[in-house]
Symmetry: D3
Subunit: 209 residues, 6 copies
């Protein structure tokens, strides 16, 4: 509705600077010098560079301590990439819906890109980050996200009825574990990211738009 | 971190459909046939088409009743485009931060695009939609958004101390009115949009990325 | 249960002053000098004076800017007074129930009086302001207020099921729009009033008791 | 702002019935037949009738069991009427501010009338019931109500800093006990009233307006 | 999972001191000198000493004023010990579930011990204090606690449907009153305890483990 | 205050059964058959048995999948047992305070025992589980728990001021990471436990009382 000419845009950019100018340089608010990468972790970083074109900042943030980095990577890869009754896209959808409940900037940016890429549907990424209830989801995916978000907001209220709804939507017990574990993992990551003001690689923003 | 090949993407897109396939056709969940546009409103729609390349869906949603459409347009244009101590970008920033508090899909999409365009900084749009506290803002803009979001979440707690902080950040009384009025307006629009499942024009998603 | 003699009352009144001594003089916490009324607005103020015996303070608060005043009046009158599937009383009931959720002093006083006057039932005004769930309402009016208050408190949770309940209670799509629009409008007005510490005309308190 | 003619009022009243037609007859949602009053309680009811012109419904609600009625009356009279560093008006102000936080219809009506009567200021009663933060209070009374309402909403957050603020506002340790005890008592009464749908005597509504 | 040697324990105890070293001496944060006990209250304290082996700190806290102490004792004993459709254990279960919602240290300790003693099941006490929803309860007891905790957290939402569920679970109207009255009483006591930093007798901790 | 004779206890125990009769047998609500332990995990289970006298149920719950079990154990042991600027007791205190915010039965029981054992102070364990604000903590430990619990309840509100308070209390950047990581880990574990109704080994209840 607004007339938007180039002059206004330029003045505003000057006023603001780019909102994320430093995000690829100063990754967290903590000064924790990176340690030399172990052989395994060096190989993993190289693989990220090759496949993604960059190393996700969360990995650099953990690189001050090889034991912590390795434990994080092992758990992440098992949860998000190992075989599961949930598709990789579904796991990324949980990641984003949970991170939206927790308003976690890092995870919304990084995993929002994940949903856009895995689904090939940029708008689905926006829906997960803004209000998953506005998305046109299958009953299965809606039940999955309702469970993950209730578990995030009020975990003490989860009871047998909640698990029964997942079973009615076609999930087996192993799948229920995976939904819980992925939702749980991002409840952890959201808090590590928020506690340290972790910044996402700026490259995520433009991916798969 | 994930290997993402084309096959996976395509299968998922098929599974999903595009998340917003119908958003430009079925604009709300209510069946309210558009009335013939009044002369003024026809001119305004034509101006939108010319300047923006499309008519925002919110206007089409109000077009079932010319009195309501005109009142909405008059208030919107006064608040968002008339001269003010707040820049147009600042008003859009309030719109998005308020809409994030209310998790309003329509307004986050439409005004997120507004922030990206007016600032020339796509990441600023994401920050406003995800967690404005993660943005590197001037003291002025931070005070402005803190006020707008507190007013959104717990309006009964706003008192003289809150206004005093705005004054210390350089805002005059007229500016305080404008912050309140813009925040108030989006608290209204968020609710009309959420109540009717209003869908944003799909073109917004790709703008100014 | 307490013995209450005149002496106690008088001492307390002295201690306290009248709680609203200045409310008809200092209308908001902002210093925004009134502009000369436009012809239309002068006529409108005159009509208020004639019909109500006073000009509502909210109008005086907006009178620092004729464009803002006119836009507010146009939207207010369309929503609250134009033909609708909702009675005027029902629209005032929404106004008060929403304002109670937001604990807005101005709107509870002004529209509480509205409910008392339009219903001829002073107690109904108290019920709307205190806890609408305690009122003995028809299924229709209860559904209407449940929708309006949920939309106020957690707009992101409104979905098709909520609209379906309204339809089952007899509301048509146009009525649903009106419920949403009135609830939305008071979510705006509550926030403008709370942000500016707007004070209701003291005359409202005694009306239709 | 609305034209309100007699016809509209009459139609609405018919639609509605009086909102409180039965409140003096069916006092709670529970069928608990009154027991014969004990001598003490008969005397107390007679005193209420003489001083107030009626017996408060809460007393009738407890009259199914003399032990419960006596215990309630003993505690109520000690808290609200015995000598204290808090004035009777201040104790009623706490009662209403706490009941507003808990949205308790019975207590807001009965003790709202109490504030109006003891203060001789009808508007002060409205302010306590709607949003005590909008009232122009002394530092002492504001500190008192902030403590009582925080204790109501989030009792687990009360700490030494909160008591220290009361002391700075001039309260002695005995007064702090009384603030806590009155706030606590209405947190009890609000819940007994809400659990049983207790209805206030209709006479309260018009008192001291 | 941790190796825990004595050295660590001792170092930590030194660091910490005992968490409750003073709880039997300094009972609240308020300096309110005890008054001489009335005959009745002296007899009651003696009975506590004989039956329990100690006088509960809450009684000592009230002993600065005989009228307040007597009123508290009368109400407590009627609610918790008089004949009722609720067993004494059920009343203690309500006490703990309500106190858990309000995170009241005093009442969780004292009445947690009560549940352990009356049930002979130490784990039931933990369940009530931590999350009653995790306990394997009869339908009757679950309905009772759901009502008590909803009444604690959001009393304004209790309606006929909530009472109907209690009736379906076998409760009569008199029992519903008792559930409400016990829940209400602990909503009062939790707040008096939290407001004054009341400390439980240290002996409770080890009882009936 | 109640007379508690053996007869009452026995009747209630019969009524109730033991609240945790099955907790050592049916560990979660999901049927996920244990896999044969890997060599590493078999050695780890044996070490638990030797040092603790039992294998914590959380490990048995993860034993349906060796990759998940190993990743969990690696992360847990690094966070809770590896060298850190936080003592092992402090890490357990965070575990319990976070689990209390999330009302997680499993973690409150298991890590409550941990706090009792490491501190040698049974009451400190109760304080962490009931309301850490009621404990007499050093400034350092209070700052640590305030950060961990705010990060749990409202992670989006953590900002530089929160980290600055930790630094003023003597924590280095590495310690801040550890506080965040432990708090984050239990936000994950609480959710996996709540989602699956995980039951703690009954032996925990009696430990170090």
């Amino acid at each position: 509705m607004a007339r938007r000419n180039k002059k206004i845009v330029h003045r505003n950019r000057a006023e603001q600077g780019s909102a994320a100018a430093d995000d690829d340089i100063k990754i967290t608010a903590l000064k924790l010098p990176a340690q030399p990468l172990s052989t395994d972790m060096a190989a993993y970083f190289a693989k990220c560079q090759e496949k993604l074109g960059f190393v996700p900042n969360v990995l650099k943030a953990y690189a001050f301590d090889m034991a912590k980095l390795s434990a994080f990577v092992a758990m992440y890869n098992d949860l998000m990439l190992a075989p599961s009754g949930l598709s990789k896209l579904e796991r990324e959808m949980i990641a984003v819906a949970v991170s939206a409940q927790n308003r976690c900037y890092y995870c919304l940016v990084a995993h929002g890109a994940g949903v856009r890429q895995l689904s090939g549907d940029p708008i689905l990424g926006e829906l997960m980050a803004m209000n998953f209830r506005a998305a046109r989801l299958s009953e299965r995916q809606r039940a999955m996200l309702d469970f993950a978000v209730k578990l995030t907001a009020e975990p003490w209220l989860i009871e047998e009825d909640d698990r029964a709804r997942l079973r009615r939507a076609g999930f087996r017990d192993r799948d229920i574990w995976d939904i819980a574990a992925v939702a749980g993992f991002f409840n952890m990551s959201n808090r590590v990211a928020s506690a340290t003001d972790m910044r996402p690689n700026s490259v995520y923003h433009g991916q798969a738009r």
